[in-house]
Symmetry: C2
Subunit: 229 residues, 2 copies
Amino acid sequence: MSFTYSYGRPALAVDCVVFGLDEEDLKVLLIRRGLEPFLGRWALPGGFVHLEETLDEAARRELSEEAGIEKVFLEQLYTFGDPGRDPRERVVSVAYYALVKLSDHKVRAATDAKEAAWFAVDDLPKLAFDHEAIVEKAIARLREKVRYRPLGFELLPKKFTLTQLQRMYEKILDVALDKRNFRKKVLSTGLLIELDEVEQDVAHRAARLHMFDEKAYRRLEKEGFLFEI
Amino acid sequence: MSFTYSYGRPALAVDCVVFGLDEEDLKVLLIRRGLEPFLGRWALPGGFVHLEETLDEAARRELSEEAGIEKVFLEQLYTFGDPGRDPRERVVSVAYYALVKLSDHKVRAATDAKEAAWFAVDDLPKLAFDHEAIVEKAIARLREKVRYRPLGFELLPKKFTLTQLQRMYEKILDVALDKRNFRKKVLSTGLLIELDEVEQDVAHRAARLHMFDEKAYRRLEKEGFLFEI
């Protein structure tokens, strides 16, 4: 079978923006580069696509190899392909974003002993390549998502307080929300189940715990709605 | 500068789903293939990315070369990269979608004399490669867009009737809408300017023409809203 394709070929990579949430911040997972170019600079986990794997498989493999992260929510974001984005030669990168529960994903030392760490999205170090633009695109996607779809199932612990949920919205949208309004709106969505349990081991008055009604959550995920802020 | 990238490289292509709207249907532009594989089968306009051009530039070049289409609304859709999607070898395709005013874009014979034609989205022929999946993804994106963003600026003529606007929503969403409800909702968005003009040369009673308030349109495009159907 002959093939008429005679152009030079860009290299093909995947890069992943992994979001996690803790009590203080929305965070992104970064890996310190052990190779040129940008040796020592922080970068998104990622790498070259193997010929026999799908793009999704390449993204999952890189997350596993570079940060020990497995079985997460992962979605394709956008493909970055400007000539010159890699100083070596033309590399086109299919970017993904992932959502993880931070408590489940203590970053382990990556197999090739590169350093990995979580950084607050509003306090990122200077990144390698065009990875700042990729992170920006991922945050924009997350903001879009949080307005029209339920979010939190993949970011919050199974049982959470309304304050934790409010903080998630505030961190993603980068705004301060009114507590009473927020509670009224979020309770009216029918997404939450109020549990007969309260927080444990807290210094302040223990708040009631909630969980997502998974059926309502999956339905609204499919149908969409407007969460007005 | 040495480069450690030693894997085989997929070929990189772009493919474009170009939507147009006429009185009857939402349509997609297809090109009849003049080469193997899938010789004679209909396919999306597209082709291989040149090393020195951006992905957006590649998509615009292919639209111009294959269908004489220039200066249209064009947005990246999704990257399709399953091994086996091209029978020749691995080809990864960055898909785009475009919106055009059909009246402005009579498809001209493409430079290499391939046949080009518009097909109704609900009556497409069998397509080459995984192009049916690409069209499906593009329709899903358009449906998402029409619910949360104003749409029509790039699809409708400059002056249009409310019936034309309703038909656009109906064709994209594949539902029948109640005329009175639709008008009430669409007029309440503040997106429309009622003109002091009516349709010309129609057999039925001439309907009033409207145009978009571009300022309101661009604002809602940025902010988003929920157009409940």
